[in-house]
């Protein structure tokens, strides 16, 4: 199916578990991949772990304009342009009810999860136009479709990027650039380990068991489950799909 030879893919949150899984798949299918992350050490380790010469890293702060311009430029300088953007960088924030929450934490989450996504589109789209089109996949969440107690900033941010995706899809359709979201249920990642610990300090395993039981398929997603959906939406197998919310949730949102 999907062949990515000659395609350039930029993945923000590239040192995270989902970003790494997507990089492995897409580079394996022939793409040149630029992994973007704010954590230089984790990024170096991710590039080594993936071990594909087509994958390289670029340290950047996705909330910053100059930093965003720099990683976009890095992709163009190293690989000649951009065809696919996986705007995937995100943070979970602190787990606490809204009445105890710190406004600074809200600002941090919105900066990374909303402003960071908006900036990535703003600066990637002109490069995609030069190539005659492209595909953008934004990482939203089941928390973008439903309320999730304890993480109001995160929930707000993941709802917001669905609106951003829809508006951008309308603007970019005439440019042959497609924009969609993927909406995972809990995934076996570092972020979920942190959320589990936040929800029940000292007993994250209990949260894992409880959440698993709520998912009809009785398991979390693996990073690879999400990466496979990203690959489909990034590929030319989905040429009529834009402006859509694609869940990958083991049935969680059906009930």
């Amino acid at each position: 199916m999907a062949d990515f030879h000659g395609k350039v893919v930029v993945i923000t949150g590239g040192a995270g578990d989902i970003g790494k899984a997507a990089a492995k798949l897409l580079a394996g299918d022939g793409a040149a991949v630029l992994l973007v992350d704010s954590n230089g050490k984790a990024l170096d380790a991710a590039v080594v772990e993936i071990g594909n010469p087509r994958v390289s890293g670029c340290v950047a702060d996705v909330t910053d304009v100059a930093s965003t311009q720099a990683y976009i430029k890095a992709a163009v300088d190293r690989f000649g342009g951009i065809d696919v953007l996986l705007s995937n960088a995100g943070i979970e924030g602190k787990v606490t009810p809204i009445f105890d929450a710190d406004p600074a934490d809200f600002d941090r989450v919105i900066a990374v999860n909303v402003r960071g996504v908006w900036l990535s589109l703003k600066y990637a789209i002109p490069e995609m136009r030069k190539r005659g089109g492209g595909s953008i996949v934004i990482s939203s969440s089941i928390a973008g479709l439903r309320g999730t107690a304890g993480v109001t900033p995160y929930c707000t941010s993941k709802h917001a990027v669905i609106g951003l995706m829809r508006a951008a899809a309308l603007e970019c359709a005439p440019l042959n650039i497609r924009v969609n979201t993927v909406n995972p249920s809990p995934v076996e990642t570092r972020m979920m380990r942190s959320l589990e610990e936040g929800l029940m300090p000292g007993n994250p395993g209990e949260v894992h068991t409880m959440l698993k039981a709520m998912i009809p398929m009785q398991r979390y997603a693996e990073p690879d489950d999400i990466a496979k959906l990203m690959r489909f939406l990034a590929s030319d197998d989905s040429t009529f799909i834009t402006g859509s919310v694609y869940s990958a949730d083991g049935g969680l949102n059906a009930g």
């Binding site: 899809a169 009809p216 489909f232 799909i241 402006g243 859509s244 949730d249 049935g251 059906a254 009930g255």
Partner: protein, 250 residues
């Protein structure tokens, strides 16, 4: 070969989206079972599948008849011994009329084929899939499974119904390894939309309602169905995936 050794069944396989699905599966190595009420069209698709080097079985069936749906699955099991994938695709547009003027027989026919037909299909497919150790069902809904369309009350109701039916079945069978999803095509260039497309004013309106600036192609729906059929979608169930050129984003 995404569908190697898989037995896959599509209703309404004689033309349009159904035929494109049968051919996409064949390209990926499936054994294809297809039904249609149009014998000539169904046999033609079967011949096209065989021309790709795959086994094909055509069965005449009216999805609105539970007995036909039962027989279809039984024939598939008798021929191939298992059922891995089913796509409930057969459907009709029905008459175009305002709700107050909508003909009663037209309403009944649309609901019988588009909604009850999917239920009858799943009722028998699920049993066969349980015997096969799991599977994937894809129900062809529509963007009108999510929003309304004036003069299409029956079609809109039937397709909303398919989306709900899909979710309930997904919850029931996820633990037994059967995934159930629905797909929401926008207006696709098929025989079903030919009357609309042949009217220049309506065609302009339709194209304009797709931000991507054109109607969809049957192959574009088939690629999504193929992906959902495959093991690449192993965590996807109960979902409604539009394939709509941005129609629903407006």
């Amino acid at each position: 070969m995404l569908m190697k050794n898989k037995v896959a069944l599509v209703t309404g396989g004689g033309s349009g989206i159904g035929r494109a699905i049968a051919l996409a599966w064949a390209r990926e190595g499936a054994k294809v079972v297809l039904s249609d009420i149009d014998v000539k069209a169904g046999e033609e698709t079967a011949a096209l599948v065989k021309a790709q080097g795959c086994e094909a079985l055509f069965v005449t069936a009216n999805v609105a008849k539970p007995g036909d749906s039962e027989n279809l699955v039984a024939r598939a099991m008798a021929q191939f011994g298992r059922l891995d994938v089913a796509c409930n695709n057969a459907g009709i547009a029905g008459p175009a009329a305002l709700t107050a003027d909508y003909p009663l027989d037209g309403w009944a026919q649309v609901i019988d084929i588009n909604l009850s037909g999917v239920f009858y299909g799943m009722k028998y497919q699920l049993g066969a899939m349980l015997k096969s150790g799991g599977g994937s069902i894809i129900n062809i809904a529509s963007i009108l499974g999510s929003v309304g369309f004036a003069t299409a009350p029956a079609y809109t109701a039937s397709k909303h119904g398919v989306v709900g039916l899909t979710k309930a079945a997904a919850l029931e069978y996820s633990a037994q390894g059967i995934r159930v999803n629905s797909v929401g095509p926008a207006f696709i260039s098929t025989a079903m939309t030919s009357d609309l497309r042949n009217d220049p004013d309506i065609n302009t309106m339709l194209v304009g309602s797709h931000p991507i600036g054109r109607l969809g192609r049957t192959e574009e729906v088939a690629e999504l169905v193929l992906w959902l059929s495959s093991d690449k979608a192993s965590f996807i169930t109960g979902a409604y995936y539009p394939v709509d050129g941005g129609y629903l984003a407006r």
